[in-house]
């Protein structure tokens, strides 16, 4: 019983794999008809030559740069907007009008300002991560029970200590929600950013994972390679999210 339940999550993916193999075998083999076998062998060669790890590390570096700068800005601005009604009122229209603009729509600007390298990609990524963190920070600060800072004041605690020990920990659960959403969006927009931004730099691997996909698409027309990249992106996203959850668990022990 316990054993069969443990295998249950693998049933559907396995069935899809079999269906995929069966479907492909009725067609002409070629670069546009990837099979599970060709994907595995492409994956192996991409990993063993170090191209895929290199691309991943490059992309991850860009995501981290963009994400961290976005988080710092978003948490600071979010705090100010939530704490001061006048700052909140004045910044809100600006933020709300930028928010619906897709990160990819900023590509032309990013390329003209920052060129086609890492900084342009990091800019796009940061822009994507900024809004979910901002909105959740504001929400987190505003959702703090007003009796908590009041209680701190009656204990003779001043504003800086209240911000550090009441407002910040009180908003932290929401900030984490924003960070997880933001990191997810950052990771998905790096592909788009590199598809365009990185298309002009170096050969496969050195332009990041998005660039690698672009090369498979535009030059070698290798669908197996693209699928390997997609799977790699998904796996990395999962690892990142689990990592962030583990950090959350450590930082928010009262939430369990």
């Amino acid at each position: 019983m316990a054993l069969s339940r443990r295998f249950l999550p693998f049933v559907l993916p396995l069935a899809l794999l079999i269906l995929w193999q069966a479907g492909v075998s009725t067609l002409q083999p070629g670069p546009r008809t990837p099979t599970p076998g060709s994907v595995v062998s492409t994956a192996w060669s991409l990993i063993s030559t170090g191209q895929l790890p290199l691309a991943m590390i490059l992309s991850l570096g860009r995501v981290l740069t963009g994400f961290v700068s976005a988080a710092v800005c978003a948490i600071l601005i979010g705090f100010l907007m939530a704490v001061s009604p006048s700052i909140g009122r004045n910044l809100d229209p600006l933020m709300e009008s930028f928010r619906p603009i897709a990160p990819i729509a900023l590509l032309p600007l990013a390329i003209l300002w920052f060129g086609t390298g890492t900084s342009a990609a990091a800019f796009i990524v940061g822009y994507a991560a900024f809004f979910p963190i901002l909105i959740n920070t504001i929400q987190g600060v505003r959702s703090i029970d007003p009796s908590l800072p009041r209680a701190a004041r009656t204990l003779g605690v001043g504003l800086p200590a209240i911000i550090r020990n009441v407002i910040l920990p009180g908003a932290l659960p929401n900030i984490f929600v924003g960070a997880r959403l933001g990191l997810g969006l950052a990771w998905s927009s790096i592909i788009a950013a590199e598809l365009a931004v990185g298309a002009k730099t170096g050969d496969a691997g050195s332009g990041g994972i998005g660039q690698m996909m672009f090369v498979f698409y535009a030059y070698s027309v290798d669908l197996s390679g693209i699928i390997v990249c997609m799977i790699a992106v998904g796996v990395v996203a999962l690892v990142i999210d689990r990592g962030l959850r583990a950090v959350e668990k450590r930082l928010l022990p009262w939430k369990q």
């Binding site: 029970d145 009796s147 908590l148 009041r150 209680a151 701190a152 004041r153 009656t154 204990l155 003779g156 605690v157 001043g158 200590a161 020990n165 009441v166 920990p169 009180g170 932290l172 928010l252 022990p253 009262w254």
Partner: protein, 283 residues
């Protein structure tokens, strides 16, 4: 800001306090507290009772310095109160414990983070241990508030206020959210921790808000009875019941008489607050 010297020996003194609220939606002005004057002596246990909405919590909030009166002066030891301060500890009705801090961390919050004279880690440890012991929370030091029962949360909030060593303790319906049995037990506990048998100058001054008349009579040296619309003090009733008090006091005729006297005074307002003007005729 001008400092008004108030010629009185009272610990806390309220002179002609009025508080008006303006409802933002309607622009209507509500008179929550109207011309309240009250002196509270050092070491006195004062209860303020009244029907819901009579402004008793507003008075407490003004003494705490969290709300400013529209007019009038509030002073402590002759100095006007302009804001919250360590010398006036507050126990809130909803406890207001920090959910991300354990019992121990909640209790040490004041001594650790207050602006003036915060304590060292070692001094804090000793102090917090003492108060954990005093409110019988040993064994629960490392629990988070959500892991505690209502009564334990209440005791933790009480210890947090006490550990900051205030001169005055302000309690806003602290037992209102508890079940009847827990409430009775905690009332006796409160008197024990307050130090009933200590001389007056060694005891903390307590202002205790409640809508429970028997609770007020059981605890207080003096009960201030408030009326509704506008919130005013109708009567101040000294409670001469001997201390230390225990469960048996409730059965005495003196106790019953005091409770009934206060009830007769506010029942009209209480009915009005509960079932509106139409209900009073039938009552």
């Amino acid at each position: 800001m001008e400092t008004v010297a108030i010629p009185t020996k009272a610990k806390i003194s309220l002179i002609a306090i009025t508080k008006q609220y303006i409802t933002p939606r309607t622009g209507q002005t509500t008179l929550a507290v109207s011309d309240v004057s009250l002196n509270i002596q050092q070491g006195e246990f004062l209860c303020i009772v009244g029907p819901s909405g009579c402004g008793k919590s507003t008075i407490l909030s003004m003494i705490a310095g969290l709300t400013k009166p529209s007019s009038g002066t509030i002073s402590m030891d002759g100095n006007a109160i302009h804001g919250p301060g360590r010398e006036r500890g507050v126990v809130f009705q909803d406890y207001a414990l920090f959910p991300w801090k354990t019992v121990r961390e909640n209790i040490e919050f004041g001594p650790r983070f207050r602006d003036r004279a915060p304590l060292s880690t070692a001094a804090r440890r000793e102090l917090v241990d003492h108060y954990i012991e005093l409110v019988s929370l040993n064994g629960s030091e490392d629990k988070y508030p959500h892991e505690l029962s209502g009564g334990m949360r209440q005791r933790c909030a009480f210890a947090r206020a006490l550990a900051n060593e205030p001169d005055v303790l302000l309690m806003d319906e602290p037992f209102a959210a508890l079940d009847a049995q827990t409430r009775l037990i905690l009332q006796e506990e409160l008197l024990r921790i307050w130090g009933e048998e200590l001389p007056r100058d060694k005891r903390k001054t307590v202002v205790f808000i409640t809508h429970g008349i028997d609770e007020a009579v059981f605890l207080a040296d003096r009960v201030a009875v408030m009326s509704n619309h506008p919130g005013q003090i109708k009567m101040e009733k000294p409670i001469g019941l001997p201390r230390p008090r225990n469960e048996g006091v409730r059965l005495t005729t003196d106790f019953q008489k005091l409770v009934d006297e206060i009830w007769q005074l506010i029942r009209h307002d209480a009915y009005e607050a509960t079932i509106g003007k139409a209900g009073i005729k039938q009552a």
